[in-house]
Structures are given as structure tokens and as C-alpha cells.
């Protein structure tokens, strides 16, 4: 069984952390992953930087620009992660935009992921229907979980369709926004969380965008299996470096 599916069966609320590979320094990738696992994170999204990240706010944009300047590429990332499974057990997901993956070759990319022990992919600008028509078979051949996004504007009918072709979890974007736009949730968001919870989907949901502290993490995981933090973690790394990540994580998880 894929590590993601195993993790989703655990009874706890899950914390997933996103970071941009190659930021702050090119070769920080493995250390960040190891430190995150040690500090109790359940799942990691490794951001493959892109020159034009349409769905991201200023924090992730800036980290992506820096990572690319540092020399990050798909090839370099795969090289860094080559032996990652010797030390790291938790699920690892690569999150990246479609064009770099297309240029690498979708099948080749999936093959590399599976060789290394990457468990899944999140590709925000790969549309559901294109995935379903052209790439689903390839992802499945290499045992990869593909994760789709839903938003407050996604219709119930479309959510059901996305649920039917998902094989891990559904990434619930907390509000109509790019990453890092807001913090904390109001009534509109909790109503949306409740609406989705009531749909009793086959795939568990993990909420992302706008989660930055213990309060928002607790709020989100009241309605969903877990939560993803990205921009807030990058800001932490920017200020405090990569060796202090347990301080960040323990603040999020504090009982």
C-alpha cells in the first residue's frame, strides 16, 4: 500500500508541510525533510519551483525565484532525493506546475518518483479531465497518488467526479485565494468545511491555504483529516533557517 494511504488510515489529525526545494539554499532539501520528520510532521510536500507559479502568493513566488536562481531543476531535485528512503519514512509528495514535468517527460518523471520513493504528486495546473484522459494510467503504473484541488466555488457534482478519480486525498483549498493570502477562518469557510464534511466523500480531505498557526490548524482539522502549511513555514525558514523547524512544528501542534 502507498505510504499516503497508510498514513490516512491513522486515527490522528495530520500535519503536512510544504517547502520549496532549493530554498533558502540549493542543498537544504534533505536536511529540511529529515528535520520535519523528526519534529513530528506527518507528510511533506516538496515544491518543485516554477518560474510562473500562478496559484501562489508572494511568499512562495519569492522562494521559487530564489530556488531557481540557486540552480534547482527537476534533475537536481531527483539527485538530492536519490537516497531519501534510507532515512525518511513519512509520505513524500512533489508539488509542481505542469510545464517542467511535461518537459522532463510525464512518464519519465513518474518513473523517477517511483524509483526514489515519492508517493504522490500535486500539479495544480494539470486539469482533471486531461489527467483522466491522458495520464491516469501512467500515474497508476508507477503507484503514484495524484491529488486534486477543490475550492469553495467547486460544484458538488464536480467534487463527486474528482472524488471518483482520486486515490489518496482531496486537497481542499480553504478559500478563493492564492497561497498565503489570509490567516484564520470565518463563518464562510467553516460553512464550506461543513458542507464538504457532510458529503461523506470516499477520499479524506486535507485543508490548505491560509493555515499558519495552532488556531487555524485546529479549526481546519475539526472538519478534515489534516491540514497543509506552506507560506507560514517558508516565512519561518526565511527568518530562522532550517535547523529550527521543530520550534515551528511544535507551536502548530501544541496540545
Amino acid at each position: 500500500m502507498n505510504r499516503i494511504n497508510q498514513k490516512l488510515e491513522e486515527s490522528k489529525r495530520l500535519l503536512s508541510i510544504y517547502f520549496t526545494a532549493g530554498y533558502p539554499n540549493l542543498n537544504d532539501t534533505v536536511t529540511i525533510i529529515q528535520n520535519l520528520e523528526k519534529s513530528g510532521v506527518d507528510m511533506i510536500e516538496i515544491g518543485l519551483p516554477f518560474s510562473d507559479p500562478l496559484a501562489d502568493g508572494p511568499t512562495i513566488q519569492a522562494s521559487s525565484t530564489k530556488a531557481l536562481q540557486n540552480g534547482m531543476t527537476s534533475e537536481v531535485l531527483f539527485g538530492q532525493l536519490k537516497n531519501i528512503r534510507e532515512t525518511v519514512k513519512i509520505p513524500l509528495i512533489i508539488m509542481g506546475y505542469f510545464n517542467p514535468i511535461l518537459q522532463f517527460g510525464v512518464e519519465e518523471f513518474c518513473k523517477k518518483c517511483s524509483e526514489i520513493g515519492i508517493d504522490g504528486l500535486i500539479i495544480p495546473d494539470l486539469p482533471v479531465d486531461v489527467y483522466n484522459d491522458q495520464y491516469k494510467a501512467t500515474f497508476e503504473k508507477y503507484g503514484l497518488v495524484n491529488v486534486f484541488l477543490i475550492t469553495p466555488q467547486t460544484s458538488d457534482e464536480r467534487i463527486r467526479f474528482i472524488d471518483s478519480i482520486s486515490n489518496g486525498f482531496i486537497y481542499m483549498v480553504s478559500s478563493a485565494s492564492v497561497t498565503g493570502s489570509q490567516s484564520g477562518f470565518g463563518e464562510e469557510q467553516t460553512n464550506y468545511f461543513k458542507r464538504i464534511e457532510k458529503m461523506s466523500l470516499d477520499n479524506p480531505q486535507i485543508i490548505g491555504f491560509g493555515i499558519s498557526d495552532n488556531t487555524s490548524f485546529t479549526q481546519a482539522t475539526e472538519y478534515a483529516k489534516g491540514a497543509i502549511i506552506g507560506s507560514a513555514f517558508i516565512k519561518h525558514v526565511t527568518s530562522f533557517g532550517i535547523n529550527d523547524v521543530d520550534k515551528f512544528v511544535s507551536k502548530i501542534l501544541k496540545a
Binding site: 510562473d52 511535461l102 518537459q103 522532463f104 486539469p127 477543490i150 475550492t151 478563493a176
Partner: protein
Amino acid sequence: MNYNVNEKGYYGVFGGAYIPEMLYPNVEELRQNYLKVMAEPDFQKEFQQLLRDYVGRPSPLYFAKRLSEKYNTKIYLKREDLNHTGAHKINNTVGQILMAKRLGKSRIIAETGAGQHGVATATVCALMGMECIVYMGEIDIARQAPNVARMKMLGATVIPALSGSRTLKDATNEAIRDWINNPVNTHYIIGSAIGPHPYPDMVTRFQSIISEEIKWQLKEHEGRENPDYVVACIGGGSNAAGTYYHFLHEESVKIIAVEAAGLGVDSGESAATSILGKEGIIHGCKTLLMQTNDGQITEPYSISAGLDYPGVGPMHAHLCKTGRAEFMSATDDEAMKSGLELSKLEGIIPAIESSHALAIFEKKKFKEDDIVVVSLSGRGDKDLDTYINYFKL
């Protein structure tokens, strides 16, 4: 061969809607409605009336006698430069603002490079009393001060794009992010035949008035509707799409697309996407795209801000791949020289974008009785500073 978009939003292998889920409802709403709305008699009535009374259409099809003599062929200029706001861009913004109104939107966003599309958008927003926000790269804001002032006079808010290379591609990213953040009340008026389906097709249809008029105007001049060649410059490809549209399936009409070669196709400072680009995804569509081996989008260069785009509309990528259109390019120097030549021979100062289309007469020999229609997409007022610096006027 079909050169129009298919029902899935593709031109051959190009096109589609490679968008994050956050944009799906907006783009889907547009996709489901655009053809229906455009077919409504009352939409057509308002659109045609504005094109006539406000834009000043039909734009003349002018036989350029002295230019024709010089190159020993028959050259007609389609005078989009005479439109209100000085370029073809207004055809599209008039159409899209009427679309936005029909869809119940109250807030308009747009991207702009040189500022022509920004001005054309700010203009129609003023006309309709709608809120207008224009994203423009920080570097372009500094380069195109008069157009920034125009937009402000017209009541638009100009927001600098501070990310990436701070030019047109980044302004487009910022506009898309704005749309993600404002999914309900906002319509995004894209400025060229680019973006996710249905944008390339919608923009092409609004611009197709150009070739519709060429047909009957040429009939008046020459007794026939079809020229031997239609020629246009290509940034994203909206004036070209409009110029070609009604000739796409007329086999006798040859199509020429002119890209900006900048300092030269092999100089590293160029915007000749059909030569330097590979299949990839930019701003929600699959097309030819200038990029690194690793799939990062690269910055193009041209002296003309309007041709400075790393991709090309998906229809043009298809025309290129199938060989339906001949792709040529003109360098900065070649374009500037042609711009000066048109000014001296015909008394028309063209936009530098349009000068690229004119530059082909130095590179390609036409027959004496060939009829060549060139899209004169805009006037040179906005480029005066560039002309002054280049020619030390």
C-alpha cells in the same frame, strides 16, 4: 484541415485550459456562455454600433501606392491604426466588456505590456462605468509612462507587477492571481489570442471584424474578395488572428506571420517563438513557448513592447506546425527601418509592432500582380520616444 478551435478547446495539439481548479468556475462560466452571448441579436447590435460610432469602423483598406511601386507588387494596408485609442486592441475590449456586462460582472481586470491593451480596457471601462484594474510590469510602467498616465486619466488603477521579470508575462500572472482571489464579480479581459480556452477563440472572433471588412473592401477595390497574401505581426497573435480568420480556409490565400527577432534569432535577445519555442504551457494553454530545457519560461526581447511575449496564441502554433502559415521574423533594425520608410513614403507613422509586418518586403519577393494585405495594427504615437532615440531625431 480545420484551423478553428474544436469543441474541447484545441487547435490540433495546442490550446486547452491548463488552469488551477480555483479558476475553473470562472473559465467554465465563460466557456458555456461566450458563443451563446455573442449570437444574441441585441449583443450583436450593441457591438456593431460601438464598433462603428465609438471605434470608428470600418477601418479603411488603403492601397499604398508608393510603397507598392517601391516593391513592385500591390500592397494594401488595413488601417487598424485609425481606430479609437490607436490600435486593433479596442475591437477585443469592446467585445469583452459587453460580454462581462451580460455575465453580470462589475469589476474588470487586465494585463498590459506596452500599455495599448491597458488603455483600450480602461477606455471601455470608462465608457461603461465599470471598475478597472490594470496589472503592468514595474519595468514597463517606467518604459511606457504616457500610457500609464492615459489609463489613470481614464479612471483605471494601475498596479505594478513586482514578481519575476516584472514585464508582460508577470503582469499576466498577477491578473490571473487577482482573478483567483475574486472569482465571483470579476471578468478578466485578456489582451491577446492567448490564455485558457475559450479566450483564444473569443478574442479571435472579436478581432475577426478585421478580415470580414478586408473581404468586402477588397472586392470594392479589386473586384475580388481574396488577396494572395495576408500579413500580420504576432505578439500573442490577436491582430493576426483577426486578419487571418476569414481566410483560414481559403486555400488560395497565403498567410504570413511575422515575429520579432529582436537583436537576431540566434542572439539570445529575441522573441521569435516559432523558432526558439517548444511545446509547453503558459498562462493556461498549451502552445509554442520560449523556455529552458527544464521547463522554466524565459524572457523574450524585442524593441517593441507589444511583441515581447514568450509564447504565441495556440491557433498560431497550429498554423505554424501544419505549415498553413509561413512564419518569418524581423529584427529591431529591420522593423525600425520599415517604420521610417512607411512614414516617408505614405505619410503614416506605424506602431513598431506593425513595422515588423512591413519589414518582410525587404526579405521576400512578391509578384507584380500579387495582392498583399498587411495589417497595420497600430499607430506610432506611443513609440515616438523609441523612434527618437533610435534615429536621433
